[in-house]
């Protein structure tokens, strides 16, 4: 009887303890701060959105693991809510509506022009700030105010690249080739205008290809015969870049090749090998010369989490960082995007991903008349033997 009583007492105490822990746990856990993603994570352009999502998930897991993010007097765990728009504007709208229904105020994406334009009314109606990877200026100029460009636009990086190559590599003749889609075509037109403004001779400005082309030899045969000094792959998808480079080189093209979009070194290495040496692209804080220890740890964590790093994430790591740091600067902005917009004008914080005293701040005044762009470092890379090397670093104001 004593034994039974003792066991019962112990069992009772154990049960009380378990219940106490169970009841206390939610009180100890951080609140969730949901950040959305609406973009393409399937189909031919899956790499664009996947690098976004994985960057966000890696950073969120890292922040949560280290205790969460303190915003005002509360500490939050970051939860990433994702929606695959399949590069379809209709689905992008659906995705943004779902974000609104979930009470999410900050969304990264969409990845392409038409998707970003399509979600604008939904975002503005529901008070959502979104960070597209799309270049139409109308998204960022007044009266628009809810979109924040998440990267460097081609009309910002293109002129800088062409100028550098004109002055340092003697480039005089330029040829452009682009996929027959809205983003690459608008990037090509912007590039052609910038090249002409610099006094370069544009020998090809109408050549296009279907985005699902697998063999680019027929596309590039007539362009290579024009013997340009520089071949610009306007808005090229990472999947197509090595194929275009390989086809051009195998056709005997010996000039320079560049693009204004971010690329992945591994993809170039596998797809074009040494033929990709010298290929110029725009990246983030990736190269050893400028990457901070935080950036290196981010790459390590991403690799551990997903098996392989994607160099596009050098740029895409920034959007979530900007959202969190801006909310830290003004905690009221968690539920008030107007407060967020006001904070953007004066916001400044340390850039954890770059060496030195680089700052996070919002820019875009020159291009959009208001600060609606994240200040991602404009690192112009050159590919060599499986790695990117920094050609030069520029800034956007």
């Amino acid at each position: 009887m004593t034994l039974i009583s003792s066991l019962s007492r112990r069992a009772l105490l154990g049960a009380v303890a378990i219940m106490a822990v169970a009841v206390a746990s939610p009180a100890l856990a951080n609140e969730k701060l949901k950040i959305g993603f609406v973009g393409v994570t399937s189909g031919p352009a899956a790499a664009w959105g996947t690098s976004n999502v994985r960057s966000m998930q890696t950073r969120a897991a890292w922040l949560n693991e280290t205790g969460g993010v303190k915003i005002g007097d509360k500490t939050y765990d970051i939860e990433i809510v994702t929606f695959d728009d399949q590069k379809d504007p209709k689905r992008a709208i659906e995705g943004m509506e779902k974000m609104a229904q979930a009470g999410i105020r900050y969304v990264v994406g969409p990845n392409v022009d038409d998707g970003a334009a399509a979600v604008r009314p939904v975002a503005e109606k529901n008070g959502i700030i979104y960070f597209p990877y799309a270049f139409p200026k109308s998204l960022y100029t007044k009266p628009a105010s809810n979109a924040v460009l998440g990267m460097i636009a081609n009309y910002q990086s293109g002129p800088a690249i062409y100028k550098y190559l004109k002055e340092n590599k003697g480039v005089k003749k330029v040829a452009f080739v682009a996929a027959n889609e809205s983003d690459p075509l608008s990037q090509r037109d912007g590039g052609v205008a910038a090249a002409k403004a610099l006094g370069l001779e544009v020998v090809a400005d109408k050549d296009t290809y279907q985005n699902d082309t697998r063999d680019f030899t027929p596309v590039l045969t007539p362009i290579v015969q024009l013997k340009p000094d520089l071949l610009v792959l306007s808005g090229v998808a990472p999947a197509n870049a090595p194929l275009l480079i390989r086809a051009a080189r195998e056709l005997g093209y010996t000039g320079l090749i560049s693009t204004e979009t971010a690329q992945d070194a591994k993809v170039l290495e596998e797809g074009a090998g040494e033929l990709a040496n010298g290929f110029i692209s725009v990246g983030g804080a990736s190269t050893p010369e400028i990457a901070s220890d935080t950036m290196k740890e981010f790459v390590d964590r991403y690799t551990k989490m997903f098996g392989e790093y994607n160099d596009e994430s050098n740029t895409k790591v920034y959007a979530l960082e900007y959202i969190i740091e801006t909310l830290k600067a003004d905690p009221a902005a968690i539920n008030d995007v107007e407060a967020f917009k006001k904070t953007m004008d004066s916001f400044s914080a340390a850039n954890p991903y770059m060496k030195g005293d680089a700052k996070l701040s919002y820019v875009g005044t020159t291009s959009f008349g208001q600060k609606r762009q994240v200040a991602v470092p404009m690192v112009v890379n050159v590919y060599k033997d499986g790695k990117f090397e920094t050609l030069f670093v520029g800034t956007v104001d």
Binding site: T41, S42, G43, P44, A45, A46, A47, T50, N180, A204, K206, D207, T208, Y209, Q210, D212, R214, D215, T217, P218, V219, T221, P222, P238, A239, N240, P242, L243, E250, L251, G252, D264, K266, V267, E270, G271, A272, G273, G307, E308, N310
Partner: protein
């Protein structure tokens, strides 16, 4: 112009091989295999893994791609298409099933192999260049192999016992059954053969164009185009459709380049006119 013609022939050989498997399955089962492109992609990734990652000989990779896809095709036929065909009288049921298998394979491939474009080391290095004509040696090898596979397929269908049985099935399913042809068995072999062809061409072309998980849909669409040009369910038509499309693409991209990306616009417009005149394509009759 020599370069343009050679480019067209090379593309045509690739395209014809892609279209063969699709037309075979259509001929045997009246099924539009929307997953054909995804099967091509799976074959490409298998070759990438075996040749590119494990470093085994390319021929081993190619055989593995073909065998794996043959097994996948046989399983699809046995457990999915056969069941649906027996249970449903509506033709669109198999179309919906084919679309579902395409989405399923898309998702599985993305999950297994990731979102990145993949490539493998060149199987043959060097480029032939006589001043007028440029052709990398690896493309020549792939072009020759593609033509060899097409020839082998035709010979197999013409002279082997399973080939004759499949031709009989394609011509008249009921008559073939009455003559003692094992319908279920040869239908499964045919589906497996069609899937195997998709796997082989995916494995072959990974050496030239690499592979990524999102191109299954576009490959299927291109294969449908070739089949429409040549005539559905006709082997000769698929081959002709492949070469015609390859040549149109190559010539169009050179001749029409001044007008922007109108090559495919012209091809589609011409195809619409052509199909309105010859709805069954060039050789549109039951295959056999």
């Amino acid at each position: 112009m020599e370069q343009v013609i050679v480019n067209g022939f090379y593309l045509g050989a690739q395209y014809a091989l892609i279209a063969l498997g699709l037309t075979l399955i259509f001929a045997l089962m009246n099924v539009l295999n929307f997953a054909h492109g995804q099967m091509y992609v799976l074959g490409g990734f298998i070759s990438y893994t075996i040749y590119g990652k494990l470093g085994l000989p390319f021929v081993v990779a190619l055989i593995s791609s073909g065998v794996t896809l043959a097994i996948v095709g046989a399983l699809f036929e046995r457990f999915l298409f056969r069941t649906v065909i027996k249970r449903s009288l509506r033709e669109e049921s198999t179309m919906l099933l084919a679309a579902a298998t395409a989405f399923f394979l898309d998702a599985v491939i993305l999950l297994l192999f990731g979102e990145k474009q993949r490539g493998v080391p060149k199987i043959v290095k060097g480029v032939y260049n006589d001043g007028n004509l440029i052709m990398p040696y690896d493309r020549m090898v792939v072009g020759i192999l593609a033509i060899a596979f097409i020839a082998g397929f035709i010979l197999y269908m013409k002279y082997s016992r399973p080939g004759r049985a499949m031709r009989a099935l394609a011509q008249d399913r009921v008559a073939a059954q009455l003559m003692g042809v094992e319908v279920d068995r040869y239908t499964m072999i045919g589906f497996a053969l069609g899937a195997m062809l998709a796997g082989i061409v995916g494995g072959l072309l990974v050496a030239i164009t690499g592979i990524n998980s999102g191109i299954g849909g576009p490959i299927s669409i291109k294969a449908f185009l070739m089949v429409m040009i040549g005539g559905a369910g006709v082997v000769g038509g698929a081959i002709a459709g492949g070469f015609i499309l390859g040549m149109l693409e190559s010539v169009g991209l050179t001749v029409l380049r001044e007008f922007g990306d109108v090559t495919y616009l012209v091809i589609f417009a011409a195809l619409m006119v052509f199909l309105s005149i010859r709805p069954n394509g060039l050789m549109g009759k039951p295959w056999g």
